[in-house]
Symmetry: C3
Subunit: 633 residues, 3 copies
Amino acid sequence: MNRQLGVCYYPEHWPEEIWAEDARRMADTGIAWARIGEFAWSRMEPEPGRLDWGWLDRAIDTLHAAGVGVVLGTPTATPPRWMLDRHPDMLAVDAQGRPRGFGSRRHYCFSHAGYVQECRRIVTLMAERYGRHPGLVAWQTDNEYGCHDTTLSYSAAARAAFRDWLAQRYQSIDKLNRDWGNVFWSMDYASFEQIGLPNLTVTEPNPAHVMAFRRFSSDQVVRFNRAQTEVLRRHSDAPLVHNYMGRITEFDHWAVGADLDIASWDSYPLGFLSDRLEATPEHKAAYLRQGDPDMQAFHHDLYRGVGRGRWWVMEQQPGPVNWAPWNPAPLPGMARLWAWEAFAHGAEAVSYFRWRQAPMAQEQMHAGLLRPDSAPAPALAEAAQVAREIADMPEVDPARAPVALVFDYASAWAWEIQPQGADFDYFRLALAVYRGLRKAGLSVDIIAPGTADLSPWKLVFAPGLMTLPGALRQAIAAGQTTVVAGPRTNSKTEEFAIPVPLPPALPGLDVVVDRVESLPPGAQVPLAQGGAFAHWFEHLDGSAAVVQATADGRPAMVASGKLFYLAGWPDAAALGQMVRALCEGAGIATEDLPEGLRLRDTAGHRFAFNYAAHPVTWQGREIAPAGVAWWPR
Amino acid sequence: MNRQLGVCYYPEHWPEEIWAEDARRMADTGIAWARIGEFAWSRMEPEPGRLDWGWLDRAIDTLHAAGVGVVLGTPTATPPRWMLDRHPDMLAVDAQGRPRGFGSRRHYCFSHAGYVQECRRIVTLMAERYGRHPGLVAWQTDNEYGCHDTTLSYSAAARAAFRDWLAQRYQSIDKLNRDWGNVFWSMDYASFEQIGLPNLTVTEPNPAHVMAFRRFSSDQVVRFNRAQTEVLRRHSDAPLVHNYMGRITEFDHWAVGADLDIASWDSYPLGFLSDRLEATPEHKAAYLRQGDPDMQAFHHDLYRGVGRGRWWVMEQQPGPVNWAPWNPAPLPGMARLWAWEAFAHGAEAVSYFRWRQAPMAQEQMHAGLLRPDSAPAPALAEAAQVAREIADMPEVDPARAPVALVFDYASAWAWEIQPQGADFDYFRLALAVYRGLRKAGLSVDIIAPGTADLSPWKLVFAPGLMTLPGALRQAIAAGQTTVVAGPRTNSKTEEFAIPVPLPPALPGLDVVVDRVESLPPGAQVPLAQGGAFAHWFEHLDGSAAVVQATADGRPAMVASGKLFYLAGWPDAAALGQMVRALCEGAGIATEDLPEGLRLRDTAGHRFAFNYAAHPVTWQGREIAPAGVAWWPR
Amino acid sequence: MNRQLGVCYYPEHWPEEIWAEDARRMADTGIAWARIGEFAWSRMEPEPGRLDWGWLDRAIDTLHAAGVGVVLGTPTATPPRWMLDRHPDMLAVDAQGRPRGFGSRRHYCFSHAGYVQECRRIVTLMAERYGRHPGLVAWQTDNEYGCHDTTLSYSAAARAAFRDWLAQRYQSIDKLNRDWGNVFWSMDYASFEQIGLPNLTVTEPNPAHVMAFRRFSSDQVVRFNRAQTEVLRRHSDAPLVHNYMGRITEFDHWAVGADLDIASWDSYPLGFLSDRLEATPEHKAAYLRQGDPDMQAFHHDLYRGVGRGRWWVMEQQPGPVNWAPWNPAPLPGMARLWAWEAFAHGAEAVSYFRWRQAPMAQEQMHAGLLRPDSAPAPALAEAAQVAREIADMPEVDPARAPVALVFDYASAWAWEIQPQGADFDYFRLALAVYRGLRKAGLSVDIIAPGTADLSPWKLVFAPGLMTLPGALRQAIAAGQTTVVAGPRTNSKTEEFAIPVPLPPALPGLDVVVDRVESLPPGAQVPLAQGGAFAHWFEHLDGSAAVVQATADGRPAMVASGKLFYLAGWPDAAALGQMVRALCEGAGIATEDLPEGLRLRDTAGHRFAFNYAAHPVTWQGREIAPAGVAWWPR
Ligand SMILES: [Zn+2]
Ligand SMILES: [Zn+2]
Ligand SMILES: [Zn+2]
């Protein structure tokens, strides 16, 4: 495996006089390539049809001359102002009915055919011009699909496209009425033309209606991206990448990823801890300058899956960012730790965002490797250290993990549509299970719901999976792998109805969910073997063997052979004892890691990462705060 | 008194093949009638003017054949999709100016004349067809008026109707300007046509303007309902019912109820505890699976009043619901306790919602008496037990309670418009007083503000009554009953002005509210006799005798003869000692009940209900959690 | 210095029969003048063009005859309803795109040329009629500019005016693109006509765009006010005043004040404590009925500066108000204390709001000096006491304070646009520093950012000043005064970019902010000399002397000569020790005041004010709660 450092660079932001010096300093730092171009449409095409490639030609050549390649971004996340004169109706519309206007970025609706055509046009021009450039490392399509809540649009364009999508999916309006249960509140439609988008209803809309809209909206992202990949493949052999943003679940990354060669994501550990993680204040305080110890690894493992083994960090936080509610500075060493953690999880490249802090516009408070005055920012030395270290390391392949976690975007939509308990969130549940596995020292693979063969893993978790796909059902039925389903697994049909026979309806497991309870904060169901259920508890009926019970004797986990069903949302203590017990049964060794320490095994090495703000001693090794250690397995 | 069980049933949701079996099982359970039809307009009239009564004929006949009657709902809460093509402007508009669209229910504006006419048409057709059917037990008009905040609409139809209403009420624009005090901020109008709805103003609109809009909006509900009752009475002798929803105060239930024969309400104790009750986290945790011990009884007593003695529970929660922030399961026994509590308060019928859990659409996570697979859900056995028990009980009449509480919807509007302290809420105040009475073991009648004769009660509370109606003033002046007014009682004219002479201006009581204070959470005014005022404190002037004082010697309650005025919002401890003292003075025996226990006296029996999650012993009797006990008085 | 009492009076609210008695009672109370007229447009001009001055003539004459002068308000804050028929597009539009309608007050957009012309017309008529009236004391323009968030408007009128303003400021669109850094996300414009208002963008708009809009919006207030002052000066020699509202920072009061003769503000200590002060619950509880001990003084000192020495309290809270979340009553004595505190800070007049509590409309729960029934409210006696006391006091001039604080409206906009930490607020920072100075017993002057001469003060604080103006830079460079800059001081250019060389770039101080951290609640950076930084911490580089360090040895305050730079937001303990040390260095004596006590020095006296709810003893004097004491210096 090839390990590289990259950096995000915006030549259009800086005087051309300093480009060569920038390139030289990049090379000196050990940076292999720069991502450029992804927000520069207004400089590529200042007026409709008037193209200006000169500056970009020179920028690419300057970098290339210094030995720095380019990852070239298509600029479609930032249509220029003139685009709106050509397509006044291209804007997305929010759920309150307000157009989301020009003046920042991502101001377009995925369903607007005219804008998709404009994207094809500019991408064609770029691909023709740069598709064979020797400095070209890869293409990035657009930027952070779905960021700023942009997947869903309630525009007229989206409504028209949704009706077409529905007509294709259901073929007859009677089928749609039946599948959605529209009889329920006299919601029957006489034609597809009567169907609106599911916003601004008096009370909640039919969840089947919303689910269809969510599937449609995800499909529109896939279509939008594919319009670009089709063009790029025609003119270039460079690999295609998109940079996903952390904890964006509004579209199916597995589906977008299928059209790309490499998955990448934008890793902002401190920003994410501040703005998108459920955690106690104590947890957030303990990891204030390090980030959550499992959030990055989760995404690394997810995108390794999405990229079918090939993945990058396209944007790596180097210092304080500008966009979280609070923006502290990383502990010294974290810019190195984060990079090494990515490599340990199999990343081929880690690219810092950004080369030099921009003194202007929206992100002027976002740190770079250089300060705005071109002096080194603290992360520059850490990046250089990583570059030296990876030069010394042998290339390795990631090891297959003993444990896998199924991650499914449709389930995220389902439980957002119908949480049933206000704090039930699919990503949160998946991350909680993942965290439980990591605390036991395990490496984890994250796999798609359509996975048909579970034999590579000894133990597979599939919590909260809305619908069990046929292939996965057969893999479970094969019975070769220990599988832990539940809670809520297989509790809905694809049309968002409760299946009859009742859930979980798992092969060979005689158990039925008789009723479910969501629990407010503070309410718990203690378990006999330790820990408790919080958030969620299911009352089970059936003859399956009870392997864990509540303190008052009700089933908490049942099993048949290698198939387990979990009747609630386990807290950390419950997960701890369950993971130990299940791993023991599956023949997997576990560790009891100190707070803040995490492990990751590659084919040849075991890596340890200390996310704590204090030194941690483990198996005789003391690891400093923000410290990384590795040794042969 | 006749006691019956009912159930809510939706034949249109199920294959016709299972209707007969459903009916048989209902009868076997002891269910006397099913409420049907209230959301089925799209199946009664699939296209405008094309009526399909066949399925409904057969459903009613099938139930009737099994000995199960029907309460037939008019389907006007769910106009079909085609209705919007006929009346595109029929939608309500929210306070932000957004139409509240199709896709759920209650998508209509009460003021839209065209839609009212459509309702008259469909109700006429139903009444003509089923008005004399032998299985018909009663009619339900529409469903849960005001649910989902639907009483107020800011539509063009509402604005036009409001102007007419104002013209009728004030006759001249000068009178309106004077009555509202429009001189205040140059808000004078030159004609009724200049008056808008009181939304989207820069800062708060004139409270007199809002109060008029609130009175108008309530009147529109009365008018809407009356359009249906006029039709139904022409074609049917069955009693007319509406099912009110818990803690809906946006329209005057006394006024709607005057056009009906029976009041009913929809009782969801766990949902209400979760989503519409102010309480400490400890209180909510203690009653998580039982519901608040006073919320149901309050509504029972309220609707006994609204129904002039005749009232039902139309929808009784049988298990977890789907719509509250969190949805736990009831303790075993609660589905029985809730039913018995309703009967003890005088209900003629309790109807569980719903027969079978629907696997589709919005309420698929709402439990029924049956699971979606037709297996019994836990409440089925409890319902059957209640059926057996009521068969064994003698019929009884409810007893007149010794204490009454005045409940007035206009006051709820008034203090919502002008809380003066952010947490001052009329319903909350009324429930607090009610709870204080219940904790002393008292049965309570809830009475209308227009009540002209207080002699049936020994003690009457009238807290927070915006305006004292003339009849009630005379009843107080009569001096035969101990009356406790205040805080805020009679502090506004009907036109939302401070009356001069100043409040409370009660007959024979020389006291004036010199100034008022609202108090943030944590701020209190301790009382000399125990407890404290919270939320609200009034400085009193005058010669009336001080019967309770603050710890620093200011009047807390003054009296003259049997008339008392309370100068603040008493906390639980203050209410406890005040209720004991006042009852002693009025010759009413009180009890000191353990936490969670509540009593209710009928003509012949005393009932005890244990809302606690643990056994409670009282007067030598141990009552299990969720337990009900009764014995002859 | 002349000290007077005034009162706000609305003759149009009351029967003409009682005006003379009102005037007599005012005079008896010792009230020198009444402010009238500012909301009475609908009575001055009931129909467009039909003027009715009779009542106002008689009201002014009646007051004058009793020896009570008038401050005459222009009625432009409440355009009558007919104005909207003439100018339907005159309404402001909120950031969500909704017109802010008729029905309360301040329903106009500052940028609407037609409405400005109407204002000129009515003000001309008033000025011609009353400009030489012997009873005229002063003119008030409009009322509380900016109250109810009315400075910013997103109307079509505002957009058109903004484009003109931009064209004037930048002259070329290329310059605007460069100055704003529009290259950043392809935000380049081809013409001024393409620029929209910075609302409803997908994610945050360019801060330079928002900053320009904020400067423009402030300028529009200045222009609007100037349209009136130009008219008034033409017809009257009476001084011109505006009544600013507390903690309104959306427009530049220094700029509006430059066109006026006297600054005044509306002081509602209890309302402000409840609705617009960050403080712990304990602090808010301790000062519930007194108000924050520094909030009033801060505004007194600010408006003394804005008024170039001449300032009033135009509206003084006399009892509970109606508009805060909670509205308690002042402690007995506070209506006197607040007035005396204003006089001690140099006020020429304190005017109570209002004479008699209005029983109708929006403010009916707002106390006055009289109750609605004309009986005295508690504050009347306190006002009369103040009148007697000021008659006995010698006239004095305010003393120059030893310490000054720079206050800059543009900085308030800057950190609102880009807080970087969610709780970073400029006013809060300024008030925190001010509080630290006051706790040390100091009198403070508040000065404009353009101040060119710092020699009058021994010590000047300039925290959080977005951009250091040239004059102030030169004054600092002069080095005669101890100046404390930071945090964030001079960290942006006027076009909202990070300057290079990097901040703070202060004359003679070799230090650079290497990176900044915002800190969530609870996170702190402890300091070696005591206290800690919260909210904000800057990493400093450079050779400047470290005079305060963090507990782990990083620079917390650096200095060169008399210039200090503070690297964070000090908590109360840190401010305490820093103020003591800096004052010692600057030769200023400090005190260690007990909780709740505050001092203020005039030329001849030292005043002490006890804001605590209990007696306070200091230097042998016991001061009662709400007590005021003074003695010669
Ligand atoms: Zn990014
Ligand atoms: Zn219901
Ligand atoms: Zn005011």
